[in-house]
Structure formats: C-alpha cells, structure tokens
C-alpha cells in the first residue's frame, strides 16, 4: 500500500492456528494513526479473529497459537513477558453486541479507570463526564448516571461501551461490527461518533456492511479465507480494485 501516514500498528506475517486449523494465513498490514481502517470480507474470512489478535484476546484460548508479529509504535505486543493488561489499556475494544456490565451507567464508564488505580471521586466524575460527552451520550444520561446501564436502549448501550473504552484514553480503538445489532438511526449516531473519534485515535473496524466501510473508512482491507487479498484507500478498494476477488466481493457478487 501507499504509506500516506505513519503506521500505528504493524502486522507482520501473522499466522493464527486454532488447534490444527489455520485461521489466519500470513497477514501483513500497516494500520495508520488518526484514521479509520475497515476490515471487510465474507463470514469466516478471519477478520474478527484478526481484530481480536490485536489486543491479545486469544490469550484466553489455550488452543490458539500465534506466529509472526504485531508492532504497536514499533514495539512487539506479542512477547509473552509483555504486560498484556497494559497492551489492552492502550488498545481498547468495542464488541459486536453491546456488553455493558450490570452496573450503573457511571460505574460502567468508571470501571476501566478504577481498575487502573484512579479512585479520586472528583477526578473520576470529570473523566466519566468527559467520556460520555465524547460519545454523544451525556445529554441523554446525565441525570440518570446511577441508573442500571441495562435500562438503556441498544444503541445507547453501544455508545456507553464506546465511552467505557475511551475513558481510559487508549491509543487504538478496535471495533468488532459495532453496529450489527443496531437500528439505522443508532448506526448513524455511532458512525458520526467514529468520524469524530478518528481525530484522536487509530480506529480499526470490522464490518459486514460495505456501505458503512465506504461511509467511514479511510482505508479498507479485504480478507478472504484467512488471507489478506488487497489493501488500500477505501476509494481504491471500492472503485478500482486490483484483484478479481475484491472486485467480485465489493460489487456484491458473493459474500
């Protein structure tokens, strides 16, 4: 690809096995800072698996084996001795289904701050308010911070999860099909939010929705059966794909 911006994340020849099955077959990708990179591809192509490698969520699965390397600001994040909690604090994640904790709205956003040792009440309040404002949620919830988060609508819950993720001020934000469980209006709000967050974070989004990729992503990577087929600016991928496979996928011939 063309190196237009400095890369925040660099994936080098990444292989991932679950048991004997090879899920990622040598992925190499530069992810630029302060931009949105979309991972697209048909179901089972490995895009979510790749995303979850980036904050080492596969550590939980004893059958998962990673080869290759992932660099954050030029430093490997895959080394065993590397503090995985520190990596996950720097690389936040928003999941496919909104997964707020069954706690209050305030406690949800404060959670990441508290486990990182912030207990000062006033500071906590400031950070929580800031994160909620950033996520366009403050106006809607500022007078019900002590209400259970599960009483919010699905779209609000997802924005709460985004607030929770950005409250700890990560450098990278991973989003795993963040809108797939939401209605069009909520989706629209989250896309607006992403476009604003792009100014501060490096965002990687997995999406099934090609219109969404075109609306929000600066760069797009197309994956198929565990391989990275093609990667470039979103315009290049959708308007002038170099590979036959990419052309077929983005024009809706399969997927």
């Amino acid at each position: 690809m063309k190196e237009t911006t400095q890369s925040k994340l660099e994936i080098r020849n990444l292989h991932l096995h679950f048991g004997k099955k090879e899920i990622l077959k040598g992925i190499s990708l530069h992810v630029p800072d302060k931009a949105i990179t979309a991972l697209i591809g048909p179901s089972g192509c490995g895009k979510s698996t790749l995303l979850r490698s980036l904050n080492r969520l596969h550590d939980l699965n004893p059958d998962a084996r990673l080869k290759g390397n992932i660099l954050l600001d030029g430093k490997s994040i895959l080394e065993k001795k590397k503090d995985v909690t520190d990596i996950r604090r720097r690389i936040g994640m928003v999941f496919q289904k909104p997964n707020p904790f069954p706690k209050t709205i305030f406690e949800n956003v404060a959670y990441g701050l508290k486990i990182n040792g912030l207990h000062h009440t006033e500071r906590l309040r400031e950070r929580v308010e800031h994160a909620l404002r950033e996520s366009f949620l403050w106006e809607e919830v500022h007078d019900q911070l002590d209400e259970p988060a599960l009483e919010l609508s699905g779209g609000q819950q997802q924005r709460l999860c985004i607030a929770r993720a950005i409250a700890v001020e990560p450098e990278v934000l991973l989003m795993d099909e963040p809108c797939s469980a939401l209605d069009p209006i909520s989706t629209d709000k989250i896309e607006h939010l992403m476009l604003r967050l792009r100014e501060r974070f490096c965002i990687v989004i997995v999406t099934h929705n090609m219109q969404q990729a075109q609306r929000v992503a600066d760069f797009t990577a197309f994956m198929y059966l565990g391989n990275l087929i093609e990667h470039g600016t979103t315009a290049e991928i959708f308007e002038n794909p170099q590979q036959e496979l990419t052309k077929n996928y983005v024009s809706g011939n399969f997927g």
């Binding site: 939980l60 904790f101 486990i115």
Partner: protein, 272 residues
C-alpha cells in the same frame, strides 16, 4: 395434559396432607416455652431449646467450612481450569459425591474427623462432616451461577486492561453472587435437616447444658425428632412434642429457603 394435571394435583395433595398432619398435631405443642426451655422429666415435658441451639450452631460451622471452600472450588473450575480430561474427571467426581448417601458421610466423618484428626464426637466434627456433604452441592450450584455470566462481560473487563482476577472479582462474582448465595443457602438447609452424618460424629441423646465450645457434644432437631418418635420409652406420651419438633425443624428449613428466595428477588431488582 389432563393426566399431567392430575399427577400434579396428587403430589400437591400429598404434600398438603403431610404438612396439615404435622401442623395440626404439632401446633398444640408450640409455645415460647417450648422453644426456649430445655426438656424436662425424661423429655416428656419442657421444650427443645438445646436442639434448636445445636442445629443452629452446627449449621453455622457447616457454613464456615463449606461455603468458602465450595465457592473457591467453583471459581477455580469455571474461571481458571482449562477443559481437560482431568477437570472433567473432577467435575464428574463432584457430581457423584452429591449423590453419596448421607450415612456414608457419617461413617467417613467418624473415621476422619472423630478418630483420624482426634476431634472426638463434637460440634466441630459434625459441622465438618455436614460440610463435606454440602460441599459438592455448593460447588455445583456455584459453577452453574458462574457459567450463567455471559462471556462477553469477562471480555469487556479484560479488554479494558483488567487482570484475570480483577475481571472475576469486580464483574463476574457480583453477577454470579445471587446464584451462589441461593445455592449455598439451599445446601445448608439440606444439611440442617440431616440426621445420619451427625449421628456418630457429635449429636447427643440428651444434654443438660448447652454446648459452650466447638469441642462439645450437642443436641439437634432432626436427631431429637428421631428419638422422640422411635427411641423414647413413652412414645405415645411424647408424640405431640415430636410433632412440635418436626414443625420447628420444618420452620427452620423453610426460613433458610425463604431467605434464599428473597435474596434472589432483591438481587434481581438491583441488577435490572
């Protein structure tokens, strides 16, 4: 459908009849005096205070041993242990332990606690034996409660930089707590009503004093009931007292079950 309803009805009538029988025959014996005094005149008069106190004590000791170990085991099995043939074997063993007849626990208690550890026949030995009996139940219900916490909540916590233990302590456990507590209370209520495990390990026929330490023998409601209904020299005479004892024992178990029920309801409300 009709048949099923009929079966349900029969079951209900049977239980209703049992309760009605115990209640009508036992209610006459009930009074504060019955609850708060010791037996007199060779147990043909007076109350059942020592048995009530003994049952409460032994249940508390059971709780002190069974709950922490049971919950810790459940957390280990569900949150840390990988799914290997070893852990599957442990799970199967725990399930089977829950089905072991209580008299077998009683014999084991004699061999290990009374004789092996030299605790003698005592509250402590009985409490430990009942603890063993309750443990598999608490482990099983605890694991069930932990399993019901969605994996996405664990991932949510980890993705924010929580350590494994932080995610368990601050997200998983609070969510599983209602199920854990309810399971523990139900397990304890079962232990409180058991006779066989305490039979050889510490319960006494009749004691003039209340137990003052965990090394003392004690009286207990289920055993007292057993004596009054089968071993007493004047069975006809003490029958109302036996029914009264049965009613108190039922009441104690019902109290534990009800508190489990209300706790669950309260937690539910807090979480939704």
């Amino acid at each position: 459908m009709r048949l099923l309803m009929l079966c349900t009805l029969i079951v209900l009538v049977l239980f209703g009849f049992i309760f009605w029988d115990i209640f009508t025959k036992g209610a006459g014996a009930l009074s504060w005096e019955f609850l708060l005094t010791s037996p007199r005149k060779g147990m043909t008069a007076g109350g059942i205070l020592p048995a009530v106190v003994g049952t409460v004590y032994v249940t508390l000791i059971t709780a002190v041993f069974a709950v922490p170990f049971g919950v810790a085991t459940a957390i280990y099995l569900n949150e840390y242990a990988h799914d290997t043939s070893g852990t599957r074997l442990i799970r199967a063993a725990i399930r089977n332990l829950a089905g072991v007849p209580s008299i077998v626990y009683g014999l084991f208690g004699v061999a290990i606690f009374v004789q092996g550890f030299g605790l003698g026949a005592s509250l402590l030995a009985s409490g430990l034996t009942l603890g063993l009996l309750t443990l598999p139940y608490i482990v099983a219900t605890g694991e069930e409660a932990l399993r019901n916490v969605p994996g996405s909540h664990r991932e949510g916590a980890l993705a924010l930089g929580a350590t494994h233990w932080q995610s368990i302590h601050s997200v998983v456990l609070p969510e599983a707590m209602p199920g854990i507590v309810v399971g523990a209370l139900l397990g304890l209520s079962r232990a409180a009503g058991e006779t066989a495990p305490i039979l050889f390990t510490g319960v006494a026929f009749y004691l003039r004093y209340l137990p003052t330490s965990v090394w003392d023998e004690f009286m207990a409601l289920p055993y007292h009931l057993f004596i009054m209904s089968t071993q007493h020299h004047a069975i006809q005479e003490v029958r109302p007292l036996a029914y009264g004892t049965a009613l108190i024992l039922l009441g104690f178990v019902l109290l534990l079950n009800l508190s489990a029920f209300f706790l669950r309801a309260r937690y539910r409300k807090n979480f939704r």
